[in-house]
């Protein structure tokens, strides 16, 4: 009994020291539903950054590009290369989807790591990368699912469903399972990476003097960039896989 009282007091003390807020959201009410306002706010900032910089840099395209235009051309070529490698010759219509996927996730992750969100105090919860919320990542994964279904159906019609019994009908349950595991793995991979990186950095910053978290922050930048690339490449791969012809 007394032991329990001591432990509860100690835990109270720890609760006061640690400023880690996990799973605390800033709720808004829209209609009869709740939303995570911090995710919406940060996603608006990310969208503003993307659209603003694109508009400014691509305003008057020159034959010999300026620095900004050159950078955006490089990004577009990179995205086209990823799409072309994964999807094949008919990659053209899918470049906006894959490109937006890559750019949104990349800028979200890096904005969460680099921008000083702590300056803005929310009544509850805090601002961070929009991809550290399960809603965002599942939304992106579901969109990818819809995209590859749409790709397969629009290219092959109802013959698309024959892929479930290829190469042998014994694999039918596995193929059906794949349709669930693909979006699940996509969303959880991204969510886990970003949330975990944020947690590690926050915990280190709150426990240890200032220089030590910096390598972890660099690692976070690196892995979050890779995660954006992985998400986009896998999305393109699933689309390509749906669209590919007969073996």
């Amino acid at each position: 009994m007394n032991g329990i009282s001591c432990s509860i007091n100690a835990l109270n003390g720890l609760y006061d020291i640690s400023g880690v807020e996990v799973g605390q959201h800033f709720y808004w009410q829209i209609g009869g539903f709740q939303v995570h306002a911090q995710v919406l706010i940060t996603s608006w900032v990310v969208i503003a950054i993307l659209l603003g910089s694109a508009v400014i840099a691509v305003r008057n395209p020159q034959t010999i590009p300026t620095a900004g235009q050159n950078f955006f051309e490089y990004v577009l070529e990179f995205i086209r290369d990823v799409s072309k490698t994964q999807i094949g010759e008919e990659y053209g219509p899918w470049v906006p989807f894959i490109g937006t996927m890559f750019l949104f996730i990349f800028v979200s992750n890096w904005s969460g790591a680099l921008l000083p969100w702590k300056i803005i105090q929310l009544p509850h919860g805090e601002l961070a990368a929009p991809t550290n919320d399960i809603n965002t990542t599942v939304a992106l994964a579901l969109l990818t699912s819809v995209a590859y279904f749409y790709a397969g159906l629009s290219k092959k019609g109802l013959g698309y469903f024959s892929k479930y019994i290829q190469p042998t009908p014994i694999l039918l349950p596995i193929n059906i399972l794949e349709d669930f595991t693909k979006p699940l793995s996509l969303s959880f991979r991204l969510f886990g990476n970003i949330l975990a990186d944020e947690l590690v950095v926050v915990v280190l910053v709150s426990l240890v003097p200032s220089v030590v978290p910096i390598p972890v922050m660099f690692l976070g930048l690196f892995t979050s960039g890779i995660q954006a690339l992985i998400f986009a490449t896998l999305a393109a791969a699933y689309i390509g896989e749906s669209m590919e012809g007969h073996h």
């Binding site: 009994m1 539903f33 659209l51 919320d133 399960i134 939304a139």
Partner: protein, 207 residues
């Protein structure tokens, strides 16, 4: 499962709050033990830890917030809609215009490159034409030269022939003259010989 435990512990705590005045620590410790049925040790320990962790410091109101990591709500469709809007906007502003510009530039460069290759062929053609013309001109020249040569040769031979004929004619004349002279001389000599022989006879023969 975490949510379930949180929910169940929340239920326990709200009953505590309702049933008694707010926190005097020992009293709270007693009541969980009274109201809980007999449960296995691990579950009781985990329940107690979660209860204590979720126990808010006295300054906070009685409402306790669940840690909500897997909290799906309207945010999900809103993010989907935002992403689709972003995709269309980015396509209109960045992907399509820049992509088209880059493709045009590549096509223009390719055209210029292939155009350069074509011009070099044209140059070769022109060169060959020039050579052909040169050859034709040289052939013409040599033909004309030959013709001229032949004509002049004919003329020269003609003149030569004429000259020879003249020379021959003169030769003949000269020969004829000579013969005439010879005959005249012989004739004159004959007469002189005759006179001379008369003289000799006269002189030689004494009277």
């Amino acid at each position: 499962m975490a949510n379930m435990i949180m929910a169940s512990s929340k239920h326990v705590i709200t009953t505590i709050v309702v049933s008694s005045s707010f926190p005097s620590t020992p009293k709270l410790q007693k009541t969980p033990q009274l109201s809980l049925p007999k449960i296995p040790t691990l579950k009781s320990i985990s329940l107690l830890t979660l209860t204590s962790l979720s126990f808010a410091p006295p300054s906070v109101a009685a409402e306790i917030e669940k840690a909500a990591l897997f909290d799906f709500n309207l945010t999900l469709p809103i993010m989907m809609a935002q992403f689709l809007l972003l995709m269309f906007a980015l396509d209109k502003v960045y992907f399509s215009p820049l992509g088209k510009f880059m493709d045009q530039r590549d096509a223009a460069i390719k055209e210029k490159l292939s155009g350069v290759k074509d011009t070099s062929e044209e140059v070769k053609q022109l060169e060959e034409q020039a050579n052909a013309i040169m050859r034709a001109a040289r052939a013409e020249i040599s033909a004309a030269l030959n013709k001229m040569k032949k004509e002049t040769q004919v003329e020269v031979e003609q003149k030569l022939g004429e000259g020879r004929k003249r020379v021959e004619a003169e030769l003949q004349e000269a020969l004829a003259n000579l013969e005439n002279q010879k005959e005249e001389t012989i004739k004159s000599l004959d007469s002189q010989i005759a006179a001379l022989s008369q003289d000799i006879v006269k002189k030689v023969l004494p009277l």
